[in-house]
């Protein structure tokens, strides 16, 4: 660091001189922010507006020679009156609710245990985090292998531990297990994420608060519910927000696991959208579908963020 006295001894540079030697602060500010804004406008906002426009047409991206017609709200009406799509939305809701439930429950419990700061907690944390470093493509593909009744690990372990014959059930097949199997895989992969956030929350609680509670002779149980939980809640809600948004748009892992089956039991709305857009190439129709999903997630997220801010203020 330069010696301030030395620096003061030199002439303090006047703004004009600085402007000549370098750029003004205002220019620098714009220069620094502009590329980011420009990139987001080009790759997020412009395409979004384009999607809105396409959603009112019958355009198909794989038929360049066909005439494009404006069809008004027909795509939207078709989608909103389609029972199949409402069923897909319910599948998505089921998937979202239970993945969030299990990840919060297990993630928080783990963080709470790790926060006991036992010996080796640092190593275990690093190991637990590993599943989320895998590519969803690899995870989806490999779990079909793990779920295979005769040659996979899951049924083998169940037989080993409970004696239930491995071939007597199929995790991804009919029989109602499939929606739960995809929840298990997502929970396996992403619980560490929730755990890390909770851990960050727990570590942010200063010790003196517990010390004060201890002096007040509050029971451990009471401390947990009146101190720990409220203090960690904003973090938990943040975790739920991130996971919720991610799982709402996720499709790759489940496509590889079940392809939406058996029947349509695990056909998430995002998978259906991907099929309409990039397999059936109904571009106009799927644009409307995409907008409906986007409005849904944006609406839910906005309400949620308001609630989150309220919790933070408390």
């Amino acid at each position: 660091m330069p010696n301030p006295i030395d620096a003061a001894a030199r002439a303090t540079p006047d703004p004009l001189a600085r402007r000549i030697r370098g750029l003004s602060d205002r220019t620098i500010a714009w220069l620094f922010v502009a590329p980011t804004i420009f990139l987001l406008l080009a790759i997020n906002i412009f395409p979004l507006i384009w999607t809105v426009r396409l959603s009112f047409t019958n355009y198909r991206a794989n038929r360049p020679n066909e005439e494009v017609e404006f069809v008004g709200l027909r795509n939207y009406i078709r989608i909103l009156t389609d029972d199949g799509i409402w069923a897909n939305m319910q599948t998505t809701a089921h998937f979202l609710f239970w993945t969030l439930f299990f990840q919060v429950l297990i993630g928080f419990t783990l963080a709470w245990l790790i926060n006991r700061k036992f010996k080796g907690n640092d190593l275990l944390t690093t190991l637990i985090v590993l599943p989320m470093m895998l590519s969803p493509a690899v995870v989806g593909n490999f779990w079909t292998f793990l779920y295979q009744p005769q040659i996979g690990l899951v049924n083998y372990m169940v037989e080993l531990l409970t004696g239930t014959p491995a071939s007597s059930f199929s995790m991804l097949g009919p029989g109602g297990y499939a929606p739960w199997s995809i929840i298990i895989v997502d929970t396996w992969m992403w619980t560490p994420f929730v755990m890390l956030i909770c851990l960050a929350g727990l570590r942010s609680i200063p010790d003196y608060i517990y010390e004060a509670a201890e002096i007040d002779r509050a029971s451990k149980w009471r401390q947990f519910w009146t101190l720990t939980v409220p203090m960690v809640l904003p973090f938990l809600m943040l975790a739920v927000l991130f996971r919720g948004i991610e799982n709402f748009k996720m499709f790759d892992m489940v496509v590889l696991l079940t392809g939406g089956g058996p029947g349509n039991e695990t056909l998430l709305a995002s998978i259906d959208l991907k099929r309409e857009a990039f397999e059936k190439w109904r571009t106009g129709y799927s644009s409307a579908y995409a907008i409906i999903l986007f409005v849904t997630v944006f609406g839910l997220a906005s309400i949620y963020v308001k609630a989150l801010n309220k919790v933070k203020e408390r």
């Binding site: 330069p2 245990l113 700061k117 996979g152 890390l196 942010s204 999903l293």
Partner: protein, 313 residues
């Protein structure tokens, strides 16, 4: 924290917690261990019914990952010169000969270029923007910051169609540049928010002193702020890299021959009649290593990164 603090958990509760977490770690790592061990199985062992826990290790999976093999007519096979290398021998044992290298190397290199390229660009642009938001009066600052955050909420498929059409027009389909820009756009919101938190914490006095010392703003940014923000930049980089490294959906849609990354390639390696599970597992293992090492090196910063900088040290 002192040893006699009343908030320090008791020895017994530590032990119980340690045991429970260890148990969870074992259960959660089982599938991962299974993947890694499958990489060292032979083809028949990998799909053995019932599954094999103990097996004779083989490098077949790794050899198959990096080569393409073909069968030759029986009499020709008999007359081949003896295998020259250990990997020739492994392929010969499967009754095949090596036809050439596989595309895995290229795909992996693409992943490196696109993953690290977009991480670098996200950090570069993100640092500039974060610095401006942290230090200067930017008009509509809060609105702009919220706008940047909100782009994170957009389902990729909502914009995938126009991006696909736009890239087709601009010739960015299946190019490294196109994918780098795309992943950067997805990651930049995270980068700006995280880095702003880090830069806010660097005392302004340092720069002011430098400015008085005759540095320009730009020089002060480069020589004073950047080194101070190094750890923050590193932790931001992990999260940008994890996303860009593993991304699958856009990679499948927008790339084919030139710029295809490894994730669309690995899960679908087909060997002699059917999925080549050892090769898939070998690919998954190799592909996990770089992010794993990166994470272990920077694990201290993981906690801050994951909460969008919401946690202060």
């Amino acid at each position: 924290m002192t040893a006699y603090s009343i908030t320090e958990p008791s020895g017994r509760s530590k032990l119980v917690a340690g045991l429970l977490v260890t148990l969870y770690t074992i259960v959660t790592l089982l599938p991962l261990v299974w993947i890694i061990s499958t990489g060292f199985k032979s083809g028949p062992d990998s799909i053995s019914y019932p599954p094999k826990v103990l097996f004779e290790p083989s490098l077949e999976g790794y050899v198959n990952l990096f080569t393409t093999r073909t069968r030759v007519a029986a009499e020709e096979f008999q007359n081949l010169p003896p295998p020259e290398t250990w990997y020739d021998e492994i392929v010969r044992d499967q009754g095949m000969v090596i036809a050439g290298p596989s595309r895995f190397g290229e795909r992996f290199l693409n992943s490196v270029i696109i993953g690290f390229g977009s991480t670098f660009l996200s950090i570069f642009l993100g640092t500039l923007a974060a610095y401006a938001f942290s230090r200067f009066k930017v008009p509509l600052k809060d609105d702009l910051l919220f706008f940047i955050l909100s782009t994170r909420m957009m389902p990729p498929i909502a914009v995938a169609i126009p991006i696909y059409l736009m890239y087709r027009e601009l010739g960015l389909s299946d190019t490294h540049l196109g994918m780098i820009l795309l992943y950067t756009a997805v990651n930049i919101s995270l980068a700006v928010w995280l880095l702003k938190g880090f830069i806010d914490e660097i005392p302004r006095e340092y720069e002011e002193a430098a400015l008085i010392d005759g540095y320009t703003r730009f020089q002060a940014f480069r020589k004073v702020v950047l080194p101070q923000a190094a750890t923050g930049i590193a932790s931001t980089a992990i999260f940008c890299l994890i996303f860009a490294w593993n991304e699958y959906a856009f990679a499948v849609l927008l790339t084919s021959g030139t710029a295809q990354t490894a994730p669309p390639f690995i899960p679908t390696i087909i060997g002699v009649g059917g999925q080549d599970w050892p090769a898939v597992a070998a690919g998954a293992t190799i592909f996990l290593l770089p992010v794993m090492i990166f994470t272990i090196l920077l694990r201290k910063h993981l906690l801050r990164g994951i909460t969008f900088g919401a946690v202060r040290k």
